[in-house]
């Protein structure tokens, strides 16, 4: 055999061995617990919820699903269970679209939960790519088809995590591995599923959520250089179509499931920003959420909760890290409100909270020194 052919065989054989070794390691460690619950190695979890949810849906016991975007990402499952009862599984995904949320919910519904609590933002219903064109969500892994399993096994990044999880299970290596696993380089730093994407006990809430931050965020999104983002993708017709085809269809297909859907308590600045920098977007938000409210109260298995006009919270800017994201204290209030049904929309006047919100937005006065202070 001449040298080039021999070398070619070494290259092809060697690379095949590397790939197969990585696949074997991934199968053995199974970081997402796709094949079996963690036994050989301690279970570890990733904050990358689009990927992690594929494993959680299979590995966890639950009867309640908690879904949403980043506004619902810091909730603790044990808090949900304590306030609302049941055994919950949080599947919220930062920046997720309705298409992503519904795809993941459909996967979770195969485990027959009795209740879905769904934090709904208007913007999730904008047009987005097909789920198979979504670069962030491993759709085939949720489907558990051959391609999804192959991509999970023949995955270098996952093999790196597998090595790390395996090393963590060796007692004398564990302290070193724990110290280095900080979530920046390795993506599976969480040992308890209740801790996924929650704020750590030592997190400085006051530094992260305060009036100055909310004001700075307002100044930023209304800046002429960035205000176009406010209107990005907002199209009333498309949003209604997506809502009907995705959300309503799924809810109607699962009449045995209780759906608690809520509009979260954004700060009033979110709407004021639209009022001042993109009024056409604000109109779409009003019209679309009015449509959603009317439609949802007509479905017998849905409770709609609208927290957008709860002015005690939404006008107190110290509750926010920007114009929409509220603090953990508000998380607790949201759970209590849902349990009490305090802001549940009336089936006869579902848009009453929206009318209150409109009046609040119209009346909200911005101090002339507001922007200057925000930029300090």
């Amino acid at each position: 055999m001449n040298t080039p052919v021999r070398q070619m065989l070494i290259i092809l054989g060697g690379s095949a061995m590397i790939v197969l070794a990585a696949a074997a390691l991934n199968f053995l460690v199974d970081p997402l617990q796709i094949f079996r619950p963690a036994r050989l190695f301690a279970a570890m979890y990733s904050p990358d919820s689009r990927m992690q949810n594929a494993g959680l849906i299979r590995s966890q016991d639950f009867d309640t699903v908690f879904m949403g975007t980043s506004l619902a990402i810091h909730f603790r499952q044990s808090d949900i269970d304590r306030v609302l009862g049941g055994r919950s599984l949080k599947l919220s995904m930062t920046g997720s679209s309705s298409r992503e949320q519904i795809f993941v919910l459909e996967a979770a519904l195969q485990r027959h939960p009795r209740r879905i609590i769904w934090e709904v933002d208007d913007w999730i219903f904008r047009d987005t790519p097909e789920i198979d064109a979504d670069p962030y969500l491993p759709a085939d892994l949720y489907r558990r088809n051959a391609q999804g399993i192959a991509r999970y096994l023949f995955n270098g990044a996952m093999a790196r995590e597998s090595v790390w999880i395996a090393a963590r299970s060796i007692p004398w290596l564990r302290p070193v591995v724990v110290r280095v696993t900080n979530g920046v380089v390795f993506s599976f730093p969480i040992a308890d599923p209740d801790d996924i994407n929650v704020l750590k006990p030592d997190f400085d809430v006051a530094a992260a959520y305060n009036e100055q931050k909310a004001r700075a965020s307002f100044a930023s999104i209304t800046d002429p250089a960035r205000r176009a983002y406010l209107a990005e993708g907002y199209d009333y017709e498309a949003m209604v179509r997506n809502f009907e085809q995705q959300a309503v269809r799924m809810i109607e297909a699962h009449p045995q499931v209780q759906w608690d859907i809520y509009f979260p308590p954004y700060s009033i600045l979110q709407f004021v920003a639209m009022r001042d920098a993109s009024p056409q977007t604000l109109k779409i938000v009003y019209d679309f959420t009015a449509y959603v409210a009317r439609r949802l109260v007509g479905l017998p298995n849905v409770n709609l909760h609208d927290f957008r006009a709860v002015s005690d919270v939404t006008h107190s800017l110290a509750n926010y890290s920007d114009v929409i994201h509220h603090s953990p204290a508000v998380d607790q209030m949201v759970l209590t409100w849902i349990a009490q049904g305090r802001f549940r929309a009336d089936r006869n006047t579902p848009t009453a909270p929206l009318e209150q919100l409109k009046a609040q937005v119209e009346a909200y006065h911005l101090d002339p020194a507001f922007i200057a202070a925000a930029n300090k």
């Binding site: 080039p4 070494i10 290259i11 060697g14 095949a16």
Partner: protein
């Protein structure tokens, strides 16, 4: 179809290679036809609706070229045929690539409501430029008569069709006509495999690996000083590894078929001036712009003022070639300005004493790199105001976060900087000599005992790093 996809690696490539050498036994024409059909199929997998456009473009240009070469037209007729050919190409390119941009700007200026939603056929910028060069050379009498299959393969040849390198007919078609090309050469296949593996690793492990850092600066949240630099530098390295990785893959693939493609990158971030940078970055585009735009405009033949004007104009159009947006125009204008300053400095600036030359080289390299990074911000940003906002953050060190994440990101960037600034490039490692049609030689990777093992590791980790959705950045241009 993507080079970094399982379907390409494990189905398309082995089948086309086997078919090429099998048909090659029947003669050159059969092998060329097979490769041409395979290339069209490669394009059709993702761009089926634009296959007819590609074939029509080939037929149109071949026909115009045939008229120009045939000698049946007088000089005026040749000029008219050339004008018709180039206009046809530019009209098609203008419609598919710039109609939307045109409508948006007309609407902005005149308050009209023009709508032009036209999908961009992948590769149209590349195959249009390739064929314009063919027509111009045919008009100049620099083209021999080529057979249609060879010409069609020259345009559609799958290693370059989507994102270059921009090929020249005089370089490629004679290679396609060689009978030896369609006979399997183990040395070339081995070398091609190694170059392809390096390119795959650059793309899947390095370029895709650093992609998350880019969003630190280019997302909706305004970055701090350090985050803006992290994002801008990350994009600088991502673009280089993405595009040079693609070019390496194209060169490697082509080499397996016995065809030498021109190199497209020569360690551009090691350039000591902007003039040097453009001799090292996207080299086939630089050559095209020089030969078919800058020189016909007058080049440097009519004094310094016109020279600088021509440079600016060439770079502006070069920027617009990349995409229909003002950000690309600003990027081109910036590089045009850089080039003018560079040439003016060469002419008017003081010459350094020999002892200070190393310092001058270092300063030149740092200054060039910094200028290139600033320009990439415009290349990447969604809009000119967004780019200006990021650049202003890069110039404002009062607002620094520098948390643990930022420190990790900076360490990551240092690794990439080390590779781009100090590591030898692929052609140096492999001894790839396009001009002399040679690969390998003394002191190259091929001669080392660890060569197959190193390539096996690079290929293995390159395959393991393939992500489900990872297009090449230059597919959009």
């Amino acid at each position: 179809m993507l080079f970094n996809s399982y379907a390409f690696l494990f189905l398309f490539l082995p089948a086309v290679l086997a078919g090429y050498f099998a048909w090659g036994r029947l003669g050159n024409r059969a092998a060329v036809l097979w490769l041409m059909l395979a290339s069209v199929a490669f394009y059709a997998v993702d761009q089926f609706r634009f296959v007819f456009l590609l074939l029509a473009s080939i037929a149109f240009n071949y026909l115009v070229g045939f008229l120009l070469i045939s000698g049946r037209l007088r000089r005026g007729g040749c000029l008219a045929a050339l004008a018709m050919g180039i206009s046809g190409d530019l009209l098609a390119l203008g419609y598919f690539k710039y109609a939307g941009f045109f409508a948006v700007n007309v609407n902005a200026v005149f308050g009209t409501h023009l709508v032009a939603s036209v999908a961009l056929p992948v590769g149209i910028s590349f195959y249009t430029f390739t064929q314009i060069a063919f027509l111009v050379d045919a008009y100049r009498g620099n083209v021999a008569r080529y057979g249609l299959p060879h010409y069609a393969l020259f345009v559609t040849y799958f290693p370059h069709l989507i994102a270059g390198p921009i090929l020249h007919h005089k370089d490629m078609i004679p290679q396609f006509e060689r009978n030896e090309a369609s006979r399997a050469d183990p040395h070339l296949i081995l070398s091609g495999l190694a170059i392809f593996a390096i390119g795959l690793f650059k793309k899947t492990a390095l370029a895709d690996g650093i992609q998350p850092l880019v969003t630190v600066a280019f997302g909706p949240v305004p970055p701090s000083f350090d985050q803006a630099w992290i994002g801008a530098l990350a994009y600088t390295f991502q673009l280089y590894f993405d595009f040079s990785g693609y070019s390496d893959m194209a060169i490697g693939l082509s080499l397996m078929f016995g065809i030498f493609l021109p190199i497209n990158f020569n360690s551009p971030y090691q350039a000591t001036s902007i003039v040097d940078f453009w001799r090292r970055w996207h080299m086939t585009l630089s050559r095209f712009l020089r030969d078919y735009l800058y020189i016909p405009l007058g080049g440097n033949r009519h004094g310094r003022v016109l020279r600088y004007t021509n440079l600016l104009l060439t770079m502006l159009l070069g920027g617009l070639w990349h995409g229909a947006a003002w950000t690309f125009v600003v990027w081109g204008a910036l590089h045009g300005l850089y080039l003018c300053i560079n040439h003016a400095w060469n002419y008017f600036g003081p010459s350094l004493p020999r002892r200070a030359a190393p310092f001058g080289q270092f300063a030149g390299r740092a200054l060039t790199f910094g200028a290139v990074v600033i320009a990439w911000v415009f290349f990447r940003a969604d809009s000119v105001p967004s780019a200006l906002s990021i650049v202003s953050q890069m110039a404002d060190p009062r607002h620094i976060v520098l948390g643990r994440g930022e420190i990790m990101n900076l360490a990551f960037l240092l690794l990439y900087a080390g590779i781009t600034w100090f590591a030898p490039n692929t052609q140096a490692l492999m001894g790839y000599d396009h001009d002399n049609r040679r690969v390998g030689g003394v002191a190259t990777l091929l001669e080392r005992g660890f060569f197959p093992y190193a390539v096996a590791a690079v290929l293995g980790f390159g395959v393991l790093s393939i992500q489900q959705h990872s297009e090449f950045i230059y597919f959009r241009f």
